[in-house]
């Protein structure tokens, strides 16, 4: 019997329709690129343009998709922590962009550079996070124009996992590359990934597109992402949203490949409901999750890696809502086969705030999902036929070597969630989840050790940042 589960049954014919209708939009409506530099590239390659609107023929899109690699590796400062994207594993990065921190009291405050550094330490010591965010929070206590330098320097020095480059302006993208160059020299190997958001509907912001161009020319991977607020900046229907965002993302991908065929790309589309009573943006919903599932199918259709949102929630505290929404978003991504998720740890309230306690809780969610999607082992040893036969109906498996050998690794072990019996739970000093998370957080930060770095390199990086900041 065919199970009619809306989010997993995609006929290729539906994907064909989304693709063909996207091409129709690319040809008929075009995409607006308010950047003379981008327009020049399109014009020089013979694209039809009207003012800032560029029109795309099918061949251009197919050619571009043809040069995007199916997988690529981003080097980490510690080679053991380099990551392969598109190779089947699920890669996760923490929150991206929130300007606020929400404390356990419910108070909201501006995020600072010290918060950035604390999050870096958590990323470094995280068992489930694979790479850094370029704006884990937006620090409010340093000048805006150079905040990307402070964030990136902190990230490089406090972690040795792969980096994300800034896309807040062309200059910020160039700065990101200069800092990477200090570590890896002049290289075309991927050493950082960045996020370029389009501006729905059917356009890009100049700074985003110019950042995209900087990274593409340098052969550095870019997540090209389009999303609309359903019913506000795009159609209220998921089908319409998919078409409009797919067209926009494809146009961005096309630009990257025109500049440098083979530039690694992570394909991204999203779509979030408009809260129809207020006009607000809802980030964690079944509709968002449905986008994730379909978008993963589209990425497979195109043969390129894809990105989804992460553990998002509309909640402002570590409650059932936060857990439920985060789990729905992440589980859908994990089961759909997403390659990369941003915002996987720490986010509250529609991506506007980060929480240290939620970060710890999300790590349990992410860790358990990584375990969930790991293929089940079906080896001779795993079937354990000899043992089953030997013990028959009266056996106790606890005292067997087979169990003994695996008892520390066979199961996912949550760090925060409780598995205690009721009486023990009642006796717990810290019964509430956020309080337990606070304790884990304190332990993590106090046991943190800065990864090794060549002192010369460190000085060089610091000097670059100081010079750029005019210190």
């Amino acid at each position: 019997m065919m199970i009619n589960r809306a989010i997993i049954n995609f006929d290729k014919s539906i994907l064909d329709q989304i693709h063909n209708r996207s091409l129709e939009l690319l040809q008929d409506c075009g995409i607006r690129f308010p950047s003379e530099k981008a327009l020049e590239v399109f014009r020089s390659k013979g694209f039809r343009a009207n003012g800032q609107t560029v029109y795309f023929e099918e061949k251009a899109i197919i050619d571009a998709l043809g040069t995007v690699p199916a997988q690529f590796t981003i080097k980490a400062r510690n080679p053991e922590k380099s990551i392969c994207i598109g190779g089947g594993d699920y890669m996760m990065a923490p929150g991206y962009g929130p300007p606020f921190i929400i404390e356990t009291t419910g108070e909201k405050r501006d995020a600072t550079l010290e918060d950035v550094h604390k999050f870096c330490k958590l990323v470094q010591t995280s068992k489930c996070l694979d790479f850094n965010s370029s704006i884990v929070v937006q620090p409010n206590d340093v000048p805006t124009e150079t905040a990307h330098l402070d964030i990136l320097l902190g990230t490089i020095l406090l972690t040795d996992k792969p980096l994300m480059g800034s896309t807040s302006s062309e200059v910020a993208a160039l700065d990101s590359l200069r800092l990477a160059e200090k570590i890896w020299g002049n290289t075309n190997d991927p050493v950082m990934i960045s996020l370029v958001d389009s501006l729905s509907p059917l356009q890009y912001a100049d700074e985003s597109v110019e950042s995209l161009m900087v990274y593409a020319k340098a052969g550095q991977p870019v997540v090209v992402h389009s999303a609309c607020s359903l019913g506000t900046t795009g159609p209220i229907t998921i089908a319409g949203s998919l078409v409009i965002s797919n067209a926009t993302t494809l146009a961005g991908i096309c630009l990257s490949q025109l500049l440098n065929p083979g530039t690694p790309i992570v394909y991204g589309l999203g779509g979030s409901p408009t809260e129809m009573r207020t006009g607000g943006y809802v980030n964690a919903s079944p509709e968002d999750a449905k986008h994730t599932a379909i978008v993963t199918a589209l990425a497979r259709y195109y043969g390129i890696p894809c990105r989804s949102q992460g553990a998002l929630t509309e909640s402002f505290c570590l409650d059932y809502q936060a857990g439920m929404e985060s789990a729905m978003m992440m589980t859908t991504a994990a089961l759909s086969g997403v390659d990369v998720s941003l915002h996987t740890c720490g986010t509250y309230g529609s991506m506007l705030a980060m929480s240290f306690e939620k970060f710890i809780a999300d790590e349990d969610l992410c860790g358990s999902l990584k375990k969930l999607i790991k293929p089940v082992e079906f080896s001779e040893e795993a079937f354990a036929m000899d043992l089953i036969k030997e013990l028959g109906t009266s056996g106790n498996y606890l005292m067997q070597n087979h169990t003994m050998k695996r008892c520390r690794t066979a199961f996912f072990e949550p760090v925060l969630s409780t598995r205690a019996i009721h009486i023990k739970w009642q006796q717990m000093e810290l019964r509430e989840m956020d309080k337990r998370a606070g304790k884990i957080l304190a332990d993590r930060l106090s046991s943190y050790e800065k990864p090794d770095i060549d002192p010369m390199l460190e000085r060089d990086l610091v000097r670059y940042v100081e010079q750029r900041k005019g210190v």
């Binding site: 807040s168 900046t233 009573r277 207020t278």
Partner: protein
């Protein structure tokens, strides 16, 4: 036919009926003030209340406003100077460096719905453009939206520019990262966390 039917048609988001009935009342010699105030404007006040209480959804509120405006357009040539249909002029925009416009558009549409003449300058708007347009249009209020902490300083410079220009125009600000404390700090005349609040604020400021 009664003015009440115009009121009901606005609440039913029924533009064709609103324009039809408005024209019919006008032709029938009904007092223009009654059509305007008891028909169209009181209907929008009711829409505003139903929206604030969560009964109406945004698209419904906007369609009601559109129906109301269509009725208003029919009355317009017949209105005397004293029967000005506008409650005041508001210049609105998202500040320099910022391209987020969903919230700003919502605020703008709701102000229009509430009877204000709104001049929407779009996104990425320079301080000078706010000042210049407000002076040209004789605006009572300049409304600034920002969604990035990094562009909130543009609000400060715009508020400063308005003051330096010696204008009587009041400034209000809003957007997800903006707070009352920030409004106080930069000397803006008002802050609202949402669109209905912004409308209320403007009503108070022009009263």
């Amino acid at each position: 036919m009664t003015v009440k039917e115009i009121f009901d048609a606005v609440l039913a988001f029924d533009e064709a009926t609103v324009t039809g009935k408005t024209q019919a009342e006008l032709d029938g010699g009904t007092d223009i003030d009654a059509i305007l105030n008891d028909g169209l404007i009181s209907a929008m006040d009711e829409v505003g209340e139903r929206f604030s209480s969560g009964e109406l959804f945004v698209p419904e509120m906007l369609m009601a406003a559109q129906a109301m405006k269509a009725g208003l357009a029919i009355l317009k040539p017949h209105l005397s100077a004293g029967q000005s249909q506008s409650k005041g002029v508001v210049v609105i925009g998202t500040v320099k460096g910022d391209l987020h416009d969903i919230g700003k558009n919502l605020v703008s549409m709701m102000m229009e719905g509430a009877g204000f003449e709104v001049v929407d300058l779009g996104v990425d708007v320079e301080s000078e453009a706010f000042v210049k347009t407000a002076a040209e249009k004789n605006a009572q209020v300049i409304a600034l939206s920002a969604l990035l902490t990094t562009t909130m300083p543009s609000m400060e410079s715009t508020v400063k520019a308005v003051k330096e220009a010696g204008m009587a125009t009041r400034t209000i600000i809003g957007g997800a990262p903006v707070t009352q404390a920030f409004a106080d700090q930069i000397g803006a005349d008002g802050y609202s966390a949402d669109a209905p609040g912004a409308v209320k604020l403007v009503k108070e400021l022009v009263a």
